[in-house]
Amino acid sequence: MRETRLWSWHLLVIPIIIVLLGLHFAIMHYAPVFYGVSVEEARNFETMIERGKSVSQLVLYILLLAAALYHGLYGLRGIIRELPMTPALGKIVDITVICVGLFIFAFGTYVTWWTFSYPVGG
């Protein structure tokens, strides 16, 4: 039951990834089409901070962070756990993957928050 649930989430987050990663690519590579700024400008420090100040950016990036990390790390765990290993070693793999995921999620959230709360004009 537990494995079924974990795998279902692996699939359920996919629509989120498709939409948000699509948006991310649009912002980065099709900035002239969608935002009227050049691709170089889209990656400027000021432009990035400007973008990061909107609440929707804050929420969507954290959502993408969570969804893509879960999907990717669950996939990686599956790949590793196909190898022959004792249950104890399997447990260690699981715990390591969870720790990496939580750390990167916390760090990424902090960075996104940092951008969101960057002092205007500073």
Binding site: L11, H29, N44, M48, G72, L83
Partner: protein, 146 residues
């Protein structure tokens, strides 16, 4: 090899089990590519979050990094990443349809000439892969010839 109680599924082939298959069909290559692109994407994403955190070190650090990424080498890497993401996403949609049972056709009696669900699914597989190739080529043109 060790026959002691191990995990539920004992892959005695080890890493070879990742790539071993009696017969390499089209879908088998797609599986390998899906796995490789999946691992590439998660590796990239972990680095990406550490890398974009450089913004916290200020304008100079950030612009320096972006200047580096403007080099042709990084353009190539970025294109490879784009291609990997497009392939993984579209092939992933195919996997979703397969796993959830869409477009597999009705089960049939195994009477010669055999028709497996994989074979019945294959025209769709070709269409999806053609679409992925098209997007990858078009995406490339906008990256290299802005």
């Amino acid at each position: 090899m060790n026959s002691k109680k191990s995990t539920a599924y004992n892959n005695r082939l080890g890493i070879k089990g990742w790539v071993y298959a009696g017969k390499y069909t089209f879908e088998r290559y797609l599986y390998l590519a899906h796995r490789l692109t999946g691992m590439g994407l998660i590796a990239y994403m972990l680095l990406h979050i550490l890398e974009t955190a450089n913004r916290m070190r200020g304008v100079v650090a950030w612009e320096g990094l972006m200047g580096l990424f403007a080099l042709p080498l990084f353009k190539m890497i970025e294109y490879a990443l784009f291609a990997a993401a497009v392939f993984h996403a579209l092939n992933g949609v195919r996997l979703l349809m397969t796993e959830l049972g869409f477009f597999l056709g009705r089960p049939k009696e195994p009477v010669y000439p055999y028709s497996s669900s994989i074979k019945r699914h294959r025209p769709l597989t070709y269409i999806i892969m053609a679409l992925a190739s098209l997007i990858i080529i078009l995406g490339g043109s906008s990256l290299f010839f802005p």
